[in-house]
Symmetry: C2
Subunit: 254 residues, 2 copies
């Protein structure tokens, strides 16, 4: 007897935007918990008529974290009309998830494992009163951090380092070493933006970095970013900045 003919598979990649305030994070959880993953799976399955699973993402985002360019991939036994599929998913998930682009990629493409670099940005508003129009999309900080201190602290992160000080309890990564290509603080009016490009990030790493930048800038914690990094001790770093100011901007692939 000959082996059964292989089922053809099409590996589909989506670049998606989402507003994290609608979800309990990206990652699939137990039934009834609405996550980015569960919503995308629901919309795809509704349109295509069969359960689409698994869906791989470039990484999990925490509850409340937004994405301007999250990348996901999933396999289908047939090739759908990609513009129609994108349009349908963006329509079903209107105001929550939008499909920015869709293409067919080689079968060995994996949104997480193939990723080379990612950019996150973080929005802080330092003013009184709290912001209203950007409410839920930024971190409101009452005190005014010293920007030059924040900028030089951000610079210290560039390079390959052990980021144990910026790793949440329960992080499952094997190694705490990551490579940071860019790390910078810019200011526009009352908005302070932190942008970071890295090979990958530990659990809560960007949020702990941002909390540390602010705590250093306001003099809430002692020492320098270099000393905190060298300590390899989460207890030396600052607070974990809240999720709603964080945006996954883009993911780069070969």
């Amino acid at each position: 007897m000959s082996a059964p003919a292989p089922v053809p598979a099409y590996n589909i990649r989506f670049v998606i935007e989402y507003d994290g305030s609608h979800f309990h994070g990206w990652q699939l959880q137990k039934p009834g918990v609405r996550t980015g993953h569960s919503e995308l799976r629901r919309a795809l399955s509704l349109i295509l008529g069969n359960d689409v699973h698994p869906i791989h993402a470039s990484g999990r985002t925490d509850a409340g974290v937004h994405a301007r360019g999250q990348v996901v991939n999933f396999s289908l036994p047939f090739l759908p009309d990609l513009p129609k599929l994108s349009f349908g998913v963006s329509g079903i998930l209107r105001g929550k998830i939008a499909v920015l682009s869709a293409d067919v990629v080689p079968n060995d493409f994996h949104a997480r494992d193939s990723a080379l670099r990612k950019q996150y940005s973080y929005q802080i508003v330092s003013r009184n009163p709290p912001p209203v129009i950007d409410w839920g999309k930024v971190w409101h900080v009452r005190r005014h951090p010293n920007i030059e201190i924040m900028q030089s602290a951000a610079n210290a992160l560039v390079g390959e380092h052990d980021f144990s000080s910026f790793r949440a309890a329960g992080c499952s990564a094997n190694s705490p070493v990551r490579k940071i290509f860019e790390s910078r603080v810019t200011v526009k009016g009352a908005t302070i933006e932190y942008t970071v490009v890295g090979s990958g990030f530990l659990r809560n790493m960007v949020r702990i970095i941002v909390g540390t930048l602010v705590d250093l800038g306001t003099g809430t914690i002692p020492g320098s970013m270099q000393e905190i990094m060298d300590a390899r001790n989460r207890g030396r770093a600052g607070v974990t900045a809240p999720p709603q100011g964080l945006y996954l901007d883009w993911v780069e692939y070969p």
Copy 2:
């Protein structure tokens, strides 16, 4: 008998920011309808222990319209601690209204009657799929209007003109003549911003102008902005753009 001693009055001016999606417009309506005015009155009255009324605004904003710098004034028989009052109001109305500044102004100051110029801006996002992160804060337009046509149409509005073509039914203004100081279209990525500075605006005037700019830019309506203005006929202009893209930026006084 001598006349009773006059009650001293302090005329207080607030500059406020609000997210219009929380209100059925600015203007006070019947009890139970939440408007910007009713919410501000409620918070002021809670803090000061007596009903604060009337509150004058530089102008009404429609349901869903936002303000980055609306100006209001109201009279009090005593002088409160203004920083504490601002802080309290912004706290009670957290995420809805924020008091950006507060000062005592001469008794003849009136937020509407004393206004010299106002700036509105309008955010359009022209892309597919619809925006997600800015959902509810912009007008999503599927078609891509021609930007040069929009810019030259915007230019035609500068000067003193009869704006009858851009006036909603039911507008109660005595004269349809207004003076426009600036009117410009700028583009950043998929976002088209329209900014207009004028002596004052008729009911729905900015929203009808924006709808007309888009309809001219997509070729949906015939003619030029000059011809539409000269017609003094609402029927010649374009659609009324939805409220959620409109922002009252600032109001200027002598």
